[in-house]
Amino acid sequence: MTTLTQLEAADFINRSFKPLPRAYGDALVEAALGDQRIVTLCADLVPPTETDRFRDELPERFHNVGIAEANMIGLAGGMARSGEIPFCHSFCAFITKRVLDQITMQAAYPNLPVKIVGFLPGIATLLGVSHQAIEDIAIMRAVPNMAIFEPSGPEYHAAMVQLALEWDGPAYLRMKRPETTPTAFTPMPLEIGKGVVRREGTDITIISAGLCVHESLNAAELLSQKGIESRVIDMASIKPIDVDLIIESAIKTKAVITAENHSVIGGLGSAVAEVLMDEGIGIPFKRIGIQDQFCEGGTTPYLMRKFGIDADAITRAATAVIQRKKSK
């Protein structure tokens, strides 16, 4: 176990006061060792965005720009125009909402490989409304050329770097720093535009992303005890979304719910609904997410329960949707 520096000890996100794994940060360094074009920018949140190893090992390609997110995107746009692949880091709230115009004009319209990496997804923070990003996916999804990827756990963090690099243009990664050392897990391969079936079932499909994937898998267990078998999809590629898998699942299970750590407006649930409507698939359907309201700070399990995006909420919604399916 490595010891913490004074600054890491003062890290205001890692309240465990122990070194945490940084699978994303490690993967970024490894990618950069093989590709000279990768540059890292960070707006004063170095350990909280896992960029400390990059800072220490590749200092000539690392910029801490200070608390200046708009400037960071502009710098990245300039660097990308000269052939670099900049990865920009802050919290989800600041790196999307605060700099949206800069993102659209300096990265998305010119279709440059500027990678926008946010931590503290959705409601998952003690720091409350100012630090919560419950509308970031809705906003970023509407930006042309932009891809959006969200890992369902630390085991998929390394893959996020790969997806971002495989996508030719600007991409948004919606990351969650692990709070404890994750248990060993062999990740399934991720692909751009592909969802991952994490559990098979024929009664209902639960499509989710990020923190809600784990909750959906737990909900599937609870449902299974009641004789309901769920297909659970990890839609790590939120944009482009896996249209074929959504259609196939909807036809197969004839009931779909979505679960996300985001507002029900404009996020994954909306994206799935758009696919279903475009295909004319009218089946029992329900979106689980933040109900168009501002939230508050708290521990993540507390907030997920209070704002209705945990396994219990998913189980309740699935049960109701199954009821509708039966009475059809």
Binding site: A9, A10, F17, G66, G128, S130, E296, G297, G298, T299
Partner: protein, 278 residues
Amino acid sequence: MDDRIRKLELTAARIRRNVLDICRQRGGYAAQGVALADIASVLYFDEMRADGNGWFHDRFVLSNGHDAIMTYGALAESGHYKMEDLRTINEDGGWVDQSPIEGQLGFEITAGSLGQGPSQSAGLAWALRHRGSDARVYCLFSDGELQEGNVWEGVMFAAHQKLSNLCYIVDNNDMQASGHASNVMNVEPVHDKFAAFGLHSIRISGTDIAELIDAFAQARSVTDKPSVLICDTRLWDGIDCLQEALPMAHYTAKTAVDWDAGLAEIGSVIAALEGVVG
């Protein structure tokens, strides 16, 4: 004057004690709260005028949410908050937030997203003047926030509108989340920058009560421009043992320092001042 100073020093020491008492519960921004205690003492207990209804006629805008601990420490001393409530800070479902939201006593705006206070306080100061109010506006922000362009946009408006009812206070502690501001992204020369933007700029330690009283009086006497008090504080100023133990603490985890040692040191400061103040 001497008695006034000693009393405010005692209040500052008690604010420091309150800050430690609150932060030891679950960790917090203790180092800033401690360092800002003298500013808080003079601002809340000397400079801002009362409204006759148990609150203030003048307005205080906190720009960076995390310095709320300073306000909590001070408003516990004034009796506006109870320490037993403040000790619940950041409990799930509790109402005392580390980064407070507007509506909670003492907080005009919902801060936390840095760099947004200078514009909002300039808007507030302009509107107060427009409505014929003589209330003054004080806005505290940090050196880290100076890196946001939004700060300078607000400052430019304040100077252009000659908002002499506005007094900015900068916690120029040369510290931000990833280290010393002078290493991360230098913001100096801060005094010259504000002066060049057209403000009356005063540079002080921020930890000397007499100096703070003077600086606020000077700001009040300026009639054709906003003022800024640049306060060169250092984290933990006023509690030596904690400054030695953790000089770089943007955030202080619950287990990071010896809270008892800090409380013992400030306890003896309080006892000594209580002996002097009548």
